[in-house]
């Protein structure tokens, strides 16, 4: 089994981390769930997103630090996730894989 095998949801979450870690909110459970909801129009549960994040972390694709307690969180810290070098690598490979497919398709297929 390849280390870089990712499910569809995992891939989306990984992309969301890549997107959000650049922004001031940072990538953590709520922001990722919001982002996914906004983009995919499906309800995403925070607990589900967390499971995926932990799995990605175990696979070494994301790293994390704790920080950023706010009043709305009842003073609790959040775990902010960042992409690791491996994560970058995986995203890049995925993109190339997909691009390869699209380029191989004849142009009038989708225009």
């Amino acid at each position: 089994m390849s280390r870089t095998y990712l499910g569809e949801f995992e891939e989306l979450v990984l992309l969301a981390v890549a997107l959000l870690e650049q922004q001031p909110t940072g990538a953590y459970g709520v922001s990722i769930a919001d982002e996914l909801k906004q983009r995919t129009q499906r309800t995403t549960s925070v607990t589900g997103v967390h499971v995926v994040l932990y799995r990605l972390e175990e696979k070494g694709l994301v790293g994390s630090v704790l920080g950023g307690a706010t009043l709305a969180r009842g003073g609790r810290r959040k775990r902010l996730f960042t992409l690791t070098a491996d994560g970058h690598q995986v995203l890049r490979e995925m993109r190339q894989l997909r691009m390869g497919f699209w380029e191989a398709l004849p142009t009038p297929f989708f225009s």
């Binding site: 953590y28 459970g29 709520v30 769930a33 919001d34 549960s45 925070v46 607990t47 589900g48 967390h50 499971v51 932990y54 799995r55 972390e57 175990e58 070494g60 994390s64 630090v65 704790l66 307690a69 706010t70 709305a72 969180r73 009842g74 003073g75 609790r76 810290r77 959040k78 775990r79």
Partner: protein, 900 residues
């Protein structure tokens, strides 16, 4: 961490609690923070109600495998301190403390079960022997537990069982010995109420349980019932199906059990119907109660009739209300909550003595016997509780534990015996990094799997055997399959058995050194099979002991059965005189009965020939020691009694109509011995003011327990004091015809009641029922124990045969005979069985000798019982082992030597 104040607008409290409960500790902060942040967002977007709803839903989603596994791992980690602690701020890529510990890793456990399953499947023979043995053991343990539970919860059907008690009387009998019985005088109830009313919530007098003839319209049935006071049904917390539990307040009412109500009135509503009892009086049905279950002491009572009616209607009962010396009744009490029963006994013990004269009536004390003791601690010795059925409960508990142990030993033996085959697997597992604990848990989970399968089989066996077991033990038990508690116990029990049976192989196998095992130099040492042998010896010692015990129980029963009874039990019929119609027609009935041509003789007496209902003191004779006050069983008979039951006259003459026998008495041998008189015929014995002349002596008759010495008994003629009619039938007449003719005569004189008779030989056989039951149960368990032990032996023998396959092949090639190979394989096992026989002889001698001390008329422990059991065990072993060893001995050596 600041706690959010309980805010109705805040997230639901239960959800937070669920989170803190189920979320892995190290994840709780971030997860809960995220959820609360989201909640705050939603509060603005969709309002508090939806937001709270969402929050709850999110919290529920924590229940998913990932979190649960981490939570469990965390718990396990925390308990074992398996890995060193690490700081939690930044996490390394692999975080052992947060991932599952290998000991409970689900993947590994799945793998253990898979390997276990493959092993079972590969060795079908061994597996089925192990599982069958274990299942048999578990089924026995299950049945015995059920039996014990039934005994321990006897009478618990009554909700007040902790506070109900019966008042018993302890009397001083011949020579200062104390005897305790349940009979009390009828004024006792009112006396207790008047003097100690604050200690008792309820007091009720009651009659014995007696048969009554019930008639409703044309329907006539016989049912047992009790006369009781109005509060008695509520003391027993009867479950009323219809009508009023206090219905007996009206003296012409009656409470019926559902079974009696149905047999009398069918499907019709029995309430307020009228029925006639004993052709004496009419009663209105005031209520119907659910039949008392089989495990209650009073379950025989199928109807309750008002005590008030008894007193007002029956003359001698009315008379007894004034006297303290007529002890023919029972008294039940319900103590108040705060009252201690021991203190209360001390308080009331002299209540009856205050009304009696010690010199003429003898000394007596009252004792409160709590309902919880009725069943298990019912025997009194010298005024103190001296056990009872609790001994059987203990005995069977021990047997159950032993049988289960035997099954576990089988399992251990077979798995250790086969360990050599699996030593390579252990070696490989260790070499690739298995920890010892992992191997332990692997073998334990394997044992657990086997125990689980065995449990399913055991459940099936128990269900199948239960009807037989119920007949053997005279109970009505069912497996409580619908009870959660039962399943919890069963699962716990299975896990316990699995651990017990699997512990030894697990620790034994996991200890192997991988290096020696894999090098192939691993050999079981000389003493490796020692524990196995010890276990076989234990198994067979227990089995042989059980077998010897069973044989001795049967021998004792047979011994008592062979005891000379002193009268003829065959074709002797007894009819209890329960209705007034049967009295006063002695001569007319007798001649009518004799005219039927099927009757040899007929007589009446005051006690049935199978028991002595009355014993009296106050006899004196020439040369009697005035200090003693011996009591004699006293039976009133008609002159034809002796010829009807065929007693054996030793000296003097029988009662006869040719004499005036109103002052004549006949003694049995025991009574003669008690008086110490020689040539007793013709001598005078004084009773109160009457001179009684001894006209004859009869051989001792076994009227009471066949295990006890015969009660000294005096027979006298008093036609007014009779309770039982005897009819002896002519030999060789077909029973149905004869009974039909008898029924006609009885219907003529007793039209209100059905013709209800008992056979004396059946009634006599009843005396053996307790011992017979124990004998049967013991035989059942002993057979199973032997079966389990043999199964184990079969497994071991086949293992040894297989292990030495090559050796046997070589021996045969070099010219060994079938006999010598058989001898080689069987010798070792025979030796073990002889060894265990030597253990079990003193053991069983000790226990059975103790048991026999309970009986005054007892058999001896003959040597042939032990020898027989030993030889039997040897034969069975030989047969079991030979099956395998002969198979190995006649196998073609080419087959075993060809490979390699």
């Amino acid at each position: 961490m600041n706690k959010p104040s309980p805010n109705p607008q805040g997230p639901p409290r239960w959800a937070d609690r669920l989170l803190s409960w189920l979320t892995p500790t190290e994840l709780l902060e971030e997860l809960q923070g995220d959820l609360q942040e989201q909640f705050a967002q939603r509060l603005d977007q969709v309002g508090p109600r939806r937001a709270r709803w969402w929050y709850g839903l999110e919290a529920l989603k924590v229940i998913r495998p990932y979190y649960l596994r981490r939570r469990l791992a965390r718990l396990a980690h925390w308990q074992r301190g398996f890995f060193p602690k690490r700081p939690a701020t930044t996490r390394p890529l692999i975080t052992p403390e947060y991932s599952s510990s290998p000991l409970i890793n689900p993947d590994m456990i799945r793998n253990y079960f898979k390997i276990a399953w493959r092993n079972l499947w590969k060795n079908k023979g061994y597996s089925s022997i192990t599982i069958l043995g274990l299942a048999a053991g578990m089924a026995v343990a299950m049945l015995i537990s059920l039996w014990i539970w039934d005994e321990l919860t006897y009478d618990h059907y009554h909700k007040n069982h902790d506070r109900l008690a019966q008042v018993m009387t302890t009397l001083v009998r011949n020579g200062g010995e104390l005897t305790t019985n349940r009979f009390v005088a009828s004024p006792l109830g009112n006396e207790l109420r008047a003097n100690y009313g604050s200690d008792f919530e309820n007091v009720s007098m009651a009659s014995m349980i007696q048969s009554r003839e019930l008639a409703a319209g044309d329907k006539k049935i016989t049912a047992k019932g009790m006369w009781v006071e109005a509060n008695f049904p509520s003391m027993l917390t009867l479950n009323m199906l219809k009508g009023n539990i206090n219905g007996l307040e009206d003296p012409s009412s009656i409470l019926l059990s559902a079974s009696v109500a149905t047999s009398l009135f069918g499907d019709a509503d029995p309430l307020n119907k009228v029925l006639r009892i004993d052709n004496q009086a009419n009663y209105t049905v005031a209520g119907v109660y659910e039949d008392l279950p089989h495990n209650t002491t009073l379950n025989e009572a199928k109807l309750f009739i008002p005590w008030g009616k008894y007193v007002s209607m029956v003359d001698w009962v009315k008379e007894s209300m004034k006297h303290w010396d007529n002890k023919s009744f029972q008294c039940y009490v319900q103590l108040n909550d705060h009252v201690d029963i021991t203190k209360e006994t001390a308080k009331i013990k002299l209540t009856s003595m205050a009304h009696l004269n010690a010199a003429s009536d003898g000394q007596e004390e009252l004792v409160l016997q709590p309902m919880n003791n009725w069943r298990l601690y019912s025997e009194f010795k010298n005024g103190k509780v001296a056990g009872g059925r609790i001994q059987f409960v203990n005995l069977f508990a021990i047997i159950g534990i032993f049988v289960l142990l035997l099954a576990c030993i089988n399992f251990m033996n077979l798995s250790t015996a086969r360990s050599e085959k699996r030593s390579k697997e252990v070696g490989v597992r260790k070499a690739v990094g298995s920890l010892k604990n992992q191997l332990v848990s692997q073998f334990l989970s394997e044992a657990m799997l086997i125990a689980g399968i065995a449990f399913l089989f055991a459940l099936l066996f128990a269900q199948l055997v239960l009807p037989l077991f119920n007949t053997l033990s005279d109970k009505q038990m069912t497996l409580p399959l619908g009870h959660v508690f039962f399943w919890i116990v069963c699962v716990g029990f299975t896990i316990g058995t699995g651990l017990l049976a699997g512990s030894y192989p697990a620790f034994y196998l996991s200890r192997f050194d991988p290096l020696t095992v894999l090098k192939g130099t691993y050999r079981v040492g000389r003493f490796a099979s020692l524990p196995r042998k010890v276990l076989v010896v234990v198994q067979f010692s227990v089995s042989i002991t059980l077998v010897i015990g069973t044989i001795i129980v049967y021998k004792q029963i047979q011994f008592a059965k062979n005891r000379p009874v002193g009268y003829n039990r065959e074709s002797l019929l007894a009819v209890y005189m329960t209705t007034p119609d049967l009295f006063g027609h002695y001569d007319a009935m007798r001649s009518d009965l004799l005219a039927t041509n099927v009757v040899e003789n007929m007589a009446e007496s005051s006690s049935p020939v199978t028991s002595v209902w009355s014993s009296q003191i106050g006899y004196s004779w020439e040369g009697k020691d005035p200090a003693t006050q011996p009591s004699f069983g006293t039976v009133s008979v008609t002159q034809d009694y002796g010829k009807t039951i065929h007693w054996q006259l030793k000296e003097g003459r029988d009662f006869s109509k040719d004499f005036n026998d109103s002052n004549s008495i006949i003694l049995n041998e025991a009574a003669v011995k008690l008086t110490g008189l020689k040539n007793i015929v013709g001598k005078t014995i004084r009773k109160d003011d009457k001179n009684l002349i001894v006209v004859g002596v009869v051989n001792d008759m076994v009227m009471e327990s066949p295990y006890a010495p015969v009660t000294p008994t005096i027979f006298l003629v008093n036609p007014g004091w009779v309770n039982v009619i005897y009819v002896s039938m002519k030999a060789g007449i077909p029973l149905p015809d004869a009974l039909g003719k008898l029924a006609k005569v009885f219907e003529k004189y007793n039209p209100a009641a059905p013709f209800d008779y008992t056979f004396i030989d059946e009634e006599y056989a009843q005396k053996f029922s307790d011992e017979q039951r124990i004998g049967n149960l013991a035989a059942f368990f002993a057979a199973l124990a032997v079966f389990i032990a043999c199964l184990g032996l079969l497994g071991l023998a086949s293992f040894v045969a297989e292990q030495r396959k090559k050796e046997i092949g070589l021996r045969k090639v070099l010219g060994a005979s079938v006999f010598s190979v058989w001898n080689l394989l069987s010798k070792e096992f025979m030796f073990l069985v002889v060894f265990s026989f030597l253990f079990s002889v003193p053991l069983s001698y000790y226990f059975m000798n103790n048991w026999l001390q309970n009986y005054e008329y007892r058999t001896t422990l003959s040597w042939w019982v032990f020898a027989g059991a030993g030889i039997g065990a040897l034969m069975i072993t030989l047969a079991t082992v030979s099956f395998q060893s002969i198979k190995a001995a006649i196998a073609n050596p080419v087959k075993s030597l060809r490979t390699e």
